[in-house]
Symmetry: C2
Subunit: 191 residues, 2 copies
Amino acid sequence: MSTKTETRKEEIIRIAAKLFKQKGYSAVTMRDLAKTMGIKAASLYNHIESKQAILQDVILTIAEEFTLGMASIQNQKASSTEQLKALIQLHVRIACHNPDGLAALNSDWMHLEDKLEYYLQLRNDYEANFRHIIERGIENKEIKNVDIEVILFSMLSTLRTLYLWIPKKDRLSEDELSASLTKILIEGINT
Amino acid sequence: MSTKTETRKEEIIRIAAKLFKQKGYSAVTMRDLAKTMGIKAASLYNHIESKQAILQDVILTIAEEFTLGMASIQNQKASSTEQLKALIQLHVRIACHNPDGLAALNSDWMHLEDKLEYYLQLRNDYEANFRHIIERGIENKEIKNVDIEVILFSMLSTLRTLYLWIPKKDRLSEDELSASLTKILIEGINT
DNA sequence: GTCTATAAAAAGATAGAC
DNA sequence: GTCTATCTTTTTATAGAC
């Protein structure tokens, strides 16, 4: 359990992410959010600046988590296959700990206003790094020489959609899920 | 080329789907739609009943297309592997012909009002049928005995997200894309 | 920190002229 | 089939009392 008590602002952001997952950013009103919190809409503004600021917090927190995770994996200088396994673990870990925020990142990023460009930069960099790892694997003959874009797309689609699926699957632990996904996503493309 | 001329209603639905893909149903206003069509918002109502009716048309048309496709594949009584290949082709075909509508189906189904239950029924039936095909494959030893829910999730995640990826990949034909996806999605799980 | 009251803008939709 | 004008409701956000 966490040692730090959740602030009201953190609570608002957590509940907002949950609602964003259910209906999407645009369909969630400040009144919806306030009602779920058990207060009036005007009271929210004592803790947060705007609805947009909530979205930025939810999405950028996770986007930066992925960026840090990717940097850490690239510093390990392991084999491509090992790096891909670590990426699967990264996605599973984040998806398990914050499925609601991940949903917003995947579905509502286009509603970012000031921070849209920054988000797109993080995402493009992440994809480029992911692609490089697969490329190295193909060069090293660790990975089958199938269309690299199709491999990348297939892995990212599965990993990015984990948040939709994890809430139903508490029967699988985080480690078991990583292991099963590794079997499916990696062994199929291994030489 | 099509022999039938597109009606104004069909044009509205087509443009609406395109906007829904870009911003999501809730963030698209009737004024946005009208402006893109080059008319005023009030004029839209001469052709369509409501914003909600547009969403229903966009989503249910595709949902029923998937239902029909699944029924056709199940009538073929081919091997499980062949049926999975046919399912991949079905998803690729629909995603190529109507990526915008598919985006709405995937992202905006929760905004269906009267038709929500009907949609959920079609989707649940589709998933159950998909699962049965994989199950038969495992029983027949055509498919590796990995966690069936993970196989199902991984395949559906990739196939359902095709619409995000296809617009960038006109270098790949529909058939080439089906072939590449079959290699990645099927050969990895084959015994 | 939460409330009531309210401002200001934007939304879906209709009426009726052309 | 499209327009202008308008209605009604809903939205984000602020002001100021408690």
